[in-house]
């Protein structure tokens, strides 16, 4: 309780207030810019948090994460081009509402539903994360290895449509994590004589390359597409009638979004899509969906913001990222010298509660900013690509260069920009690669430690029930979609 109050007290610290405000503002702005997602922004701004210290850094990144999902709905509703992938489902009904002149009503509902979903999930995070951490407190290396493998298996459902391709990308991420000196023997692996690779490939340039520069190259291939922009009247709070109509959608979606967010590697986009389907299923106005149903905006928006708090649960309690953005936030914590996991709850409880309280604040802030300044944010979304993307590149260069002041890091970022572009072209999403990269060290270290405990016998895992349960779950998650498909095909 003391830690909780101490964490809450940090909210009156002007520095924390400022970074949460800035994070929220930046989150909404970039969320509104088509092509720049919350994960791109957190990757791009990660280097600038290094000098902040752990609490302001994670408060800043957490606020961006919270606000970007809402920001994405602005362009989803006005331009039919979701600024953030998580807002894709919002466009299904938000854009038709805007076309019939109800953009302000849709944006108002989006802000309110997002805030409710976001706040609900942070409350769940406050309650669930310590409980999960307590369970994980007794975990040894074998259990952590099994947990990391389970997290990696979940990348099968992250990013692209092909499970196999997602798993391959995740495995390459793990492989990239092996670059540099082996911790046990000091042997250099895949350094190819490049001095700066001796300590491994830094997270930051890889993330900047895979998200910001890959997107720049993607945008270069789509320069001819010009969106139609809906006119935006005054953004207004939803009426009592709207709230009543959407209360069921918001409630169901907040719970669904939080739960989906908690599952490792499944993030806000999946949550929003499932919530849209469920909102439609439970609605009395099914026929209106796709034609501008306000519930079709409320459901996905509540869910994608609820998934944010949910995704932070395994990230903080277990050190297993709940989504692509939390993988980047996890990388940010590691860069700060903080290793998330159950021990964090006993060693640095104030840091955790500061994170929780700053996320709560960010949810309230974007409600106010969203309702008050959506018109301004909507204009920002129309910055022409010929000005926006060169600026993104310049920021990427500075972001990759600044932490170690080394041009080699910029080369790494550019190389991963090209790698990400070709990955996407051949149906491999960069998101699983990032999760693999973040989890890679943990997988190798815990495997080595486990094998030492078991005297180099893989059979030792059989005597660890928790590890075996996690392996069983991994097999279930990997084989269930395939088995279901086979069952469906059978007459």
């Amino acid at each position: 309780m003391d830690a909780f109050l101490a964490g809450m007290a940090l909210l009156v610290d002007p520095k924390i207030l400022l970074v949460v405000f800035l994070g929220t503002l930046i989150g909404i702005i970039v969320g509104a810019l088509p092509g720049i997602s919350g994960s791109t922004t957190t990757a791009l701004l990660l280097p600038f948090t290094i000098t902040m210290g752990p609490v302001p850094a994670i408060a800043f990144l957490g606020a961006i994460y919270c606000a970007a999902n809402f920001g994405g709905s602005i362009t989803a509703i006005l331009v039919n081009s979701p600024g953030d992938p998580s807002a894709s489902a919002t466009a299904f009904d938000g854009y038709p509402m805007a076309q019939r002149g109800e953009a302000g009503r849709a944006l108002g509902m989006s802000a309110v539903a997002s805030a409710i979903g976001g706040i609900f999930s942070v409350v769940v995070l406050i309650i669930a994360a310590p409980l999960l951490a307590r369970v994980a407190y007794s975990f040894g290396p074998p259990e952590y290895f099994a947990l990391a493998v389970f997290g990696l298996s979940m990348v099968a459902m992250t990013g692209g449509d092909s499970m196999l391709k997602n798993l391959i990308a995740g495995a390459f991420g793990v492989l990239i994590a092996t670059v540099g000196q082996d911790l046990t023997t000091g042997v250099e692996r895949y350094t190819f004589g490049i001095h700066s690779f001796t300590d491994g490939i830094e997270f930051i340039p890889v993330l900047i390359g895979l998200f910001a520069l890959t997107e720049l190259l993607e945008q270069a291939s789509q320069l001819k597409n010009k969106p139609w922009v809906a006119k935006l009247g005054a953004v207004r709070l939803p009426s009592w009638q709207d709230i009543k109509e959407c209360s069921k959608a918001i409630s169901i979606s907040s719970v669904l979004g939080t739960f989906i967010g908690i599952l490792p590697a499944l993030g806000a986009t999946t949550a929003a899509m499932i919530a849209y389907v469920e909102t439609k299923r439970w609605s009395k106005n099914k026929a209106q969906f796709g034609k501008g149903a306000i519930e079709g905006v409320a459901g996905p928006e509540a869910a994608n913001n609820a998934a944010v708090g949910g995704a932070m649960v395994p990230t903080l309690a277990l050190g297993i990222p709940g989504s692509t953005t939390t993988a980047i936030i996890l990388a940010g914590l590691i860069v700060q010298g903080v290793r998330p996991g159950p021990h964090l709850f006993t060693e640095q409880p104030i840091l955790l509660y500061a994170v929780f309280s700053s996320m709560l604040l960010a949810n309230l802030l974007y409600l106010v900013l969203g309702l008050g300044f959506a018109k301004v944010f909507a204009r920002i979304s129309l910055i022409p690509p010929q000005f926006l993307w060169p600026a993104v590149f310049v920021l990427s260069v500075i972001g990759a260069y600044a932490p170690n002041q080394a041009m080699a890091e910029v080369w790494v970022a550019i190389a991963f920009g090209f790698i990400g572009f070709f990955m996407r072209r051949y149906g491999f999403s960069p998101a699983p690669l990032v999760i693999g990269l973040v989890l890679g060290r943990m997988v190798e270290e815990t495997l080595k430690q486990s094998l030492l405990i078991f005297d180099l016998s893989w059979g030792g895992f059989l005597g660890r029930p928790i590890a075996m349960t996690l392996f069983g779950l991994t097999a279930l998650f990997l084989l269930a979609p395939w088995a279901l498909q086979k069952l469906r095909v059978r007459p």
Binding site: L167, T185, V187, L217, P385, P390, A402, I414, F428
Partner: protein, 139 residues
């Protein structure tokens, strides 16, 4: 096609593990530096084989638009110019060049945008955070 490329990369990286420095058994304790990468690469090869079975032929992809190549070349050109002109002048030139390449023809706006952004980068990172940017041989 994708599976074959994946497999080729994995085989090359697997072969590279044979060039890792060898350590005595007493240090590696049965799990050398090459063991884990080989385990991961073995998994990748198995997944690539499965990918070939599941989706043996992929649809022909559309050609990569020329603008992607030009933009990619601009990124590499930027890196080539930095050691000569320095980071800030290279950024200024890049902002002009990519903006022009992507269709902006209002020269005054391009110049204004490039000058303003370069100045902001200088003010925040060089003056504010004390980041030492590469100066280039011309400086």
């Amino acid at each position: 096609m994708a599976a074959a490329v994946v497999a080729a990369i994995a085989v090359a990286l697997f072969a590279a593990t044979y060039w890792f420095e060898q350590m005595p058994e007493g240090i590696t304790r049965g799990f050398g530096a090459e063991a884990f990468p080989r385990l991961v690469l073995g998994t990748i090869l198995a997944l690539a084989a499965l990918l070939t079975v599941v989706s043996p032929t992929g649809e022909a992809l559309p050609r990569i638009p020329a603008m992607v190549w030009y933009s990619g070349a601009a990124l590499v050109a930027f890196m080539a110019v930095v050691p000569v002109a320095g980071m800030l002048p290279s950024m200024f030139l890049f902002l002009l060049a990519l903006g022009y390449l992507w269709g902006e023809r209002r020269h005054w706006l391009l110049l204004l945008n490039a000058a303003l952004l370069t100045a902001i980068i200088w003010a925040i990172f060089v003056k504010g955070f004390g980041v030492q940017l590469p100066k280039g041989v011309l400086a």
